[in-house]
Symmetry: C2
Subunit: 479 residues, 2 copies
């Protein structure tokens, strides 16, 4: 204790760290033995933990025992190959190791000077991704734009809305507050994060227009145009339109090109939210879905969803970084430094809401290098083809139906009986612990969602799950 006080020494870390590595490897080898959806009741985990913190330090063995015995029952296993709920939140071993190196460095990458590598690796990797996804050159740092890692697509949406608000007010709303007659447009199916961002930015949900969708749940641009005309007549100023490249509910894909053209005509900021489905753009055969992307002012997708990179890692690109930086830049004296003043570097604190930032590009770099472009493409194609298979199986039955044809990896289906039956079926399957999937509501009907994209999901998993769903439906019918 003399030399280091209460700190763990590097020697102890070598020993304890290797135990944790083994613990994680064991976890993945046994992950299918756990119930996918945690079976605990509200308050159960909390009640198992002591009311007061320890006065004296405890050993890592004690902590890891508690992780195994007290925490594990409260884990819903997002990394289980039988996890089909919500959306994938994938990790992978290379991502875990990249993130571990980042924890080890413990650098604070708020500005270039506080760790040049953290800034420059991020810029480079996000430029790589522009090419990997067939995105327009303007999103590269070597052109007028550039990318930055944000925590979530919610934050990217907020960042886009604030920048759009600034652009349309000629950089006055940061100073005077938000003017009252700005309006934003999304479809009725767009993710709730836009609504949240509109509230935060002081725009107000009264000024958010929800445009109705077609039979594939994609935004109807004829109605969008009409609404804009109406708003302009009433002296509102349209300033922001968000298109979804894959809605959360049903993976619907808005008509990017048509919306982009309306944005140009109406002088609106065009943001594309490709949170999950953006990853599919790694494969050229899926890029037709983002036809028109060259019209976007900003674009985000989450490698922390489908691209095997652990949370948090949302990629946000802008076509014109000057607007973004002018919106978020603040330079107090204690952050002044030569590199910043030279203008030769990016200070990423000026690209987002937070000041502090972790070295997140390391894990993304590790993932891209481990898999290579071909490995990433392989696994994305595999998931899309599994979703097609699952769709085929559903179509072969008489009791179930596909609700909307899946463009990629999300299958929306339902039992042909009542909403109530579908909810019962879902809960019954989830309670077995063998699989976990969730529901949504489309056209007023309960629809079941199989989100097929977990890192380790293979055909045998979706086959077993499909059998389980069918068997459970039969049992429930007999009751």
């Amino acid at each position: 204790m003399e030399k280091t006080g209460y700190h763990m020494t590097p020697e102890q870390f070598r020993e304890e760290g290797k135990k944790v590595i083994d613990w994680i490897a064991d976890y993945y080898e046994n992950i299918e033995k756990y119930p996918v959806l945690s079976q605990v009741k509200p308050g159960e985990i909390k009640a198992s933990l002591p009311t007061n913190p320890p006065q004296k330090g405890e050993s890592l063995d004690e902590m890891m025992n508690d992780v195994t015995n007290k925490i594990m029952p409260g884990i819903t296993h997002w990394q289980s190959p039988n996890f089909y709920a919500y959306f994938p939140a994938n990790t992978s071993f290379p991502a875990i190791l990249g993130d571990l190196v980042s924890s080890g460095f413990g650098v604070q990458g708020m500005i270039w000077a506080t760790s040049p590598a953290a800034t420059e690796l991020e810029t480079k990797v996000l430029d790589w991704l522009v090419g990997m996804m067939g995105m327009p050159e303007k999103f590269k740092s070597t052109s007028t734009g550039g990318g930055v890692i944000q925590d979530t697509a919610s934050t990217s949406a907020l960042t886009a809305i604030i920048t759009a608000r600034e652009r349309v007010t000629k950089f006055e709303s940061n100073k005077k507050g938000n003017p009252q007659k700005l309006v934003a447009y999304i479809s009725t199916q767009t993710h709730s994060s836009i609504e949240k961002a509109v509230k935060i930015a002081g725009i107000g949900t009264d000024n958010l227009r929800l445009i109705d969708v077609d039979d594939k749940f994609a935004m109807r641009t004829d109605l969008l145009k009409k609404q804009i005309e109406k708003d302009k007549k009433e002296e509102y100023t349209p300033f922001f339109i968000c298109a979804a490249l894959g809605t959360t509910s049903s993976n619907a894909i808005d008509p990017i090109k048509e919306i982009g053209e309306i944005c140009k005509t109406e002088n609106c900021w065009f943001h594309i939210d490709a949170a999950m489905s953006g990853t599919a753009m790694l494969c050229p055969e899926f890029r037709h879905f983002q036809n028109g992307v060259e019209l976007a002012d900003s674009y985000c997708f989450n490698p922390h969803k489908w691209m095997f990179t652990n949370f948090d890692c949302d990629v946000f690109w802008v076509a014109n970084r000057e607007e973004l930086i002018n919106t978020f830049s603040i330079l107090p004296e204690y952050l002044r430094n030569k590199a910043t003043e030279s203008g030769e570097v990016f200070d990423y604190r000026d690209w987002h809401i937070q000041l502090g930032r972790r070295f997140r590009s390391l894990k993304l770099w590790f993932v891209i290098r481990h898999y290579g472009v071909e490995g990433l493409q392989h696994h994305i194609r595999e998931h899309v083809s599994l979703a097609k298979k699952f769709t085929g199986w559903v179509n072969q039955t008489k009791d179930f139906e596909i609700f909307v044809d899946p463009p990629l990896n999300l299958v929306c289906f339902r039992h042909k009986s009542s909403d109530d039956f579908n909810m019962k079926l879902m809960n019954a399957v989830n309670e077995t612990g063998k699989a976990y999937f969730t529901h949504t509501k489309l056209n007023g009907k309960i629809v079941l969602r199989m989100s097929i994209g977990q890192t380790n999901t293979k055909e045998k998993h979706i086959k077993t799950t499909w059998d389980l769903i069918q068997e459970t439906a039969e049992k429930l019918h007999l009751k």
Copy 2:
């Protein structure tokens, strides 16, 4: 390749993971050999990396070699015991391991149901901290309030401002947009994050009042009262006041109790930003600095600064969680579930801006359990006592002066000659690579900052650095 495609297997992870653990231990054993402030030029790291991503996967050895050879030169070593710049951004081995377990689980804790343990451990650990820091009971989840981990103090400030805006507008500004006559108050020394938050929230910097400070750089409440009177006469509505428990520039401590009382009288939201110095509240002898904390509506501090917990980990407490939840809650169909509808659980997505969230309480839990309350207190006291020692040394010289008496661990000093000389001195010391410290401006003068709080800083480090500063000053004088 047959069984797992391109994925790394658990067996490979065991092997590679242990190598990474050793690599990190080696890094800490050798950390004092690296120049603390990275010496690279803008663009140097980027130029060392390939223009295109690899088509085929690469080995982890190749990546780790690149980390050592290409990334390391661009690292500014925040974990070096000779890092005295900005503020500490500490990690510790228990934190790294807790975060590693979190990466392994890879759970998305957006709502209770998506991993009950992630929510309940967070609630429990943040309740522990209320007791550990002598905070009022109302901040506990078992009372009317509760805590949530945010990424940064910037985000906590924004969250507080939005909730305050909603409260004062009776929950109308989320709907109608921000009304134009709300005003917020901070001191001239308050962190730039409040200015940024005021912009984002659509309040506008014209509506942010900067109150002048006393000779210790703390907010003058007589001037605060005067400004509020003036604003009310002009039909502005005061709605938010932020007090700093330790400003970034000089660690000045605003008069918490007096400001709190003004907030009550004027019906303003009272937010306390204790980003770095909050950690000192673990020691009862420093709690007089937050006398009046029971008047606060919200409070934040960053275990990722001084409490040995790696980024990101900001703790944000509110006294009344209903107001917070009413401000941020959104419930789309695809997130509906039984636990949420029962009202028995917290869904932390409703406590902040983002939807997605990482299992961050694990690392905080590991830190508290590893050190125990007494270990944490030991190291905080050690840092404060080192700052006192350093202050004593400065006071003994005739060429240097203490600019403001340090309340805790940040020493603000300067060479008695010109501003220009102080900047030259700082740059010359930093360029040696042996230590890294930064500057600020106080009363129009350049002041040097020694932030003493890095996990591994001991007396020998500050002694060597002080000798280096003095020798460098002498050499510069002789030129």
